[in-house]
Structure formats: structure tokens, C-alpha cells
Amino acid sequence: MAETRVERAALGTAFRRMWHFLQRSVLWLVAAGILPFAAAATSMAQQPAPAAAPPAQAAPAQPAPLNVDILYLGRQYVEPPPLSLLDKIVTDQGIQGARIALQENARTGRFVNQNYHLTEMILPLDADFKAKARAALATHKLIIADLEKDDLLALADMPEAKDAIIFDIRTSDDSLRQEQCRANVFHFLPETAMRTDALAQYLVWKRWPNWLIVSGKNPADIAYADDVKQSARKFGAKVVDERFYTYAAGSRRTDTGHQQVQQQLPLVTQNAPPYDVVFVADQSEVFGEYMPYRTWDPRPVVGTQGLIAVAWHRSFEEYGGTQLQNRFEREVGRIMTERDYSAWLGIRAFGEAILRSNTIQPAPLRAYLLSDHFGVAGYKGDAMNFRTWDLQLRQPIILASARDLVSISPQDGFLNPKYLTDTLGFDQPESKCHFK
């Protein structure tokens, strides 16, 4: 018994279990015949898109399994290293979450005669992305896209992708949910406007309504700052001033040390009108991490650093989140990042939709994903579904400091006639998305 406990920690245990499990499965399959499938089909029959009728009871043979092959398409982009030395540089974000979710889908699939497979295609930057993607689309219609904006649009606009279902697990760019939206692209990470709204609601609830924006000069920073201003208008807060940090990104390690940064940041923030918080807009890890404790006035920092708005964070363990955090760390050996989570959620959403609709045909699957019956559980308490007007996943957003969960938005009291989560980001009236 004690021995079993010790073994449990061993890496090989998983394989032993799997073997054990397979032996077992075979036993009960033989014993119970088609019972499980009949049962599964029964419960499936209550879904709007029913499975094909189960074979006559006498038939001992199983129905042909549904083989699900999901393509994970990514590129080896150059990413800025995190400014803090406490954050490890991680090069396998996303795909690790997808692998964990695939195991979960596969385990569930075994009970209902569905097989799941993940085809991994993470291309070097110098590879011919378009040619390779086009070739892959010939055989794959269910796609997890770990792609930046331009590549994502290129993929979505390929004629071969017309009937594909593309799950964007990487971007937060508003424009991809607005003017540049595509009918075949579903978005899993919160758009930037959802993030700034999530922070704004909390700041309004805290009665900290006066904000000083400090923004970088990258287009993404400017876009983030624009969202902050929009959030202020939406929730009755005020941007008292906007400042810029104009230095380019540098090395995260320096021999000279911290003194220069200590001098710079008070200069950026001095002589500001009275304000409650600094709202920092630094999407590419140039200076945001330097803001806390260095502002001219003693004020908290929120935004892209300081108090951040994210889909996932290590400090979050509510709604059973502990299980996913533990599972991930046990398998991968590092903490689960936001992109790991969105990839995990993408694969789980495919699994959930296919489990319930029992189809991998893109058209009915897409219809199911957009129906009232679809909802994916992502350890956020609610079942999450998509906004039909821009295919953005509705979701509660975690507000976290570097080491702790601070709150979860939407905050109490912010109301919407349909979904409270639609108080975050672009609700239907604000949408500029028009699918062709």
C-alpha cells in the first residue's frame, strides 16, 4: 500500500495506469456489449443534433468510431522576453495546453467511441507558411491557430479554409473581432477591450475613477491605451492625462543596474493632475514592469503590468481550477500560461461540441458551436459560449497581481440584459463585425 503511494509519484505510473485501464475497458466492453454506446446514444438523443440511430440491439459489432483529427498550426515567432527575471522564458506555450486537453478528450472519447488525435504543425519562421497551411487545410478542417494577426487572416482567407473551423488561441487584437472579423475564426482569448473593461469595472467598484495612462509607442500599446479611454467613457471614469515612455526595449539584464530606471519613471509621471491609479499600456514588455513603486506620486499600477486582466493565472484555483493547474504542472513541469489555457480550452471546446453533436462535419459542428446548447466548461464557474456577432468567447476575466488573485470581472452591479460577461468588450450594439 505504501509502495503504491510511492509509485504514484513515478513518471512511469501513467503508462501502467493506461495499460490497466485498457485491460479493464476490454473486459467491460465484452461484458457489457453495446450497453455503454446505447446509453450514450440515449443521452445524446436529447441533444438538438442527435447522433445517428444506434444499431439494432442484436448487433454485437461496435459502430465505426468517430475519428477526430485536430490540427495545431503555429509558427516559431520571436517573442520579447519577460522583463522580470522571475518569469522564465517559455518557448512551448499553447501546444502544451493543447496536449493536456487532447488527453482529456481522448479519455472521454473512449467511453463513446470517439478517437482524438492532434496533428502538430509548428512551422519555422522561414518556412513557406502559406503553402504549408494550404496543404494542411486539404486534410484538416478543425484547426487550433497559434498565429499572429497577419498569418491568422492569411489562413482564414484561403479558399480551402472556407469551410474550416479555426480556433484562434493567440490574439487579443480588437480589430480581429471588429472590422477584420472572419466567419470561420472563433476567438478564445479575451479581446483587449474586454481586458480594459474588466479592470475598469473593478476600479469603478473601488472608487478609483481617475487614471493616468502611461503608454509605450508600439501600435499595440496605442491600441491598448485607446481601449483604456473607451473603458473610461463606458464606465464613467476619467483619464486625467496620457504620458509616453519613449525608450525602446532593452536587455532584461544589465551590468549597470537599476539606477537609470529609478530616475526615468518619476520623470514620466511627475506633475500629473490628481489621479488614483496609473494605467500602463505596454504590450511588449518594454517598461511596464518598472512602473510599480517608481511613480512620482504613490499610486497603484494596473493595466498590462501591475494588476492585470487575464484569462488564466497561476493564482487562480476556483471552480475546480486546482485540478487543471495540478494536471498541467505534473505533465509539463512548469506553470500554465494564459496561452496554454486558451489552447487547452480550444481543444476542450472541440471535444465538448463533438461529444454532444457526434459530428466532425464543419457545417453542423459550426452550427452547434453557435447554438444555445453549446457551452464549454473552463473552470470559470459558468459554461462559456460564443458571441454570435463576432465569435468571441464570453468569459469571466481574472484580475491578478504578480502573486495573487485580486478579483474576477464582471463585477457585481454591472448589468446586461443577456449575459453579464457581455458587459466586457464589444456587445452587439458596439460591434463593427460584418461577416461576409
Binding site: A40, R107, E352
Partner: protein, 327 residues
Amino acid sequence: MTKISKILLFGLALLSFGIAAAAEANAYVIFVSNEKDDTVSVVDSASLKVIKTIDVGHRPRGIIITPDHKTIVVCLGDDGQIAMIDANTFKVTRKLDSGSDPELLNISPDGKILYVANEDDSLVTIMDFATGNTIEEVPIGVEPEGMAVSPDGRIVVATSESTSMAHFIDTKTYKVLANILVDSRPRYAVFTADGSKVWVTSEVGGSVSIIDAKTYKILNVIRFAIPGVRPELISPVGITFTKDGKRAFISLGKANRLAVVDTSNYNVIDYVLVGQRPWHTELSPDGSTLYSANGETNDITVVDVASLRPLKSVPVGRLPWGLAIRP
């Protein structure tokens, strides 16, 4: 146990709350697991006061009483253990290794076998209560939680939260007999008293599935609609049947209410407002009173079963989760 120590124990029990027991012949004791505090609160039913707080171990959640009413058994999620508390002296007498992250557990009607859901491991651990030895580990879906034992002890139904299934396990052969797909995130399962049906709550799906225990067919799916409460807040978890089996109380989690369901036609009769985030409920030995453990408000609500009125709330520890009652 020798006769003398039995007498001593009895005497000790009398000393602890003899006066209360004399004053209130039907008095009983309510044990509440406090997930955040790492404690079990012991509440006297007559005074509705916490008479003892037991340091039990890390993250106590699932809590039951053995059929002989001698022992309270508590899952300690963060310790990978289950703790045994003497139901009379309130002392932790034993801890058993139960496998990773035990969340809910149940016991065979003869009190000999424990069934533990290992949430982290996709396993049901079957243990010998007396020796604490693991008899068998049954692999099921991802994140096992609910654990129902049939009245005759022959079938255990475990739910797996991520796989969204109820798994029927034969307790003699340890074979999985059926895997029934239900709505998202099934958290709790319970047999009806006659063993003919299994009720399963789906927290994220917001529903309760009634499964025929013989044919494994889903007979009915109960959904809830509360005026003024958003549908996404309805997150069913615990189930308790009334003594006559005619009604079921369903804890609706973030909707802060218990739904009262007519078990003959599955209609919702009423909603009882309790504290915030009710997880589980338990019935008094005479069946007249129901207790609800409310996670967010650190209390238990006392509900009168006949009138369906909440009578009182009793503060316990932080983030109360489960209840067990010793007559």
C-alpha cells in the same frame, strides 16, 4: 474495545453534552467541513451553537458518518488523506492515505468499504474501512467527484466532472458497467431510497439528470428557472431527499437557493433562499429539519422541511462545504 473503556467513553460523552442531551431528548450533532479553515465545526442542534472546532487537516470537503454512527469520515484534499473523527469525543482518531486529492467519499451500507473519488487522478479508490488498505483503484473519467452507493451496496455511481459522465461500477467485480453522458460538470450523485434511480447534478450544465439504475436510461432532466436570477448562476451541486422520499432538495450554488423538487413528477415546487453558494445539505435524524452549508457566507442555514422556510443561520468556519449528522 473493553467493556470498561466503553463505559468510560460513554461517561465522557455524557459529560461533554449531557446537560444539553437531557434538556432536549432529540438533540443531535451536526459536523460541518470548513474548506478554508482546515477544520470541522461541531454544532449542537438544540442550542445551534458551535461546541467544538476540530483541526482536521488540509482542505476538508467530503464528509460522511459511518452507518453505526460512531465515526465521521472527512476527505482532506490537500493532504491526500481521509481523517476519521470519533463522533462522540470529536477527536481525530485515524488518518488514511487515500490517493491524490480526495474530494467526496461514501461508504457501503455495512460500513466495511469506503469509496473515494480522487479528483486529481481519474480514479475511484476502494478501501477497506477497518484496515485502511486499498482494495482496488478503478479508472474512470477525468476529475471524479460524486460517489453514490446503492442501498444494497452492489453498485457505486461515480461522476467525472470533466468527462461529464456518471460511471456505474459493480462493487463485486469492480467493472464499469455503464458510462452515462450527462450535462456539463456532474458533481454529485445519489440513489433513491429504493435503489431504482440515480440523481446526478450538473453544476455547469445547470441541471439534474435522473438515471434509471437498471437500464441506464436518462428518465428526466430537471432544469431550473428562478425569477430575477440569471440562468448562469444556477449551479446545482448537493442533493438530499426527504425522509419519505417525496421531495428532493438541490443546492443551487451561486443562485444562493435550494430547489425543492417533487420526486413523483420532477416539478420544482419552491426555491428556498439560504446563504451564499450552498454546496451540500443534510437532513436531521427525524427528517424535520434540513441544514445547508453555505460556502460564501461562512454559515449553515437551518430550513424547516414542512414549511420550506429558512429559520436561522448559524456561523461556522470559513468556506463551509459538507455536512454529516450524528443522531
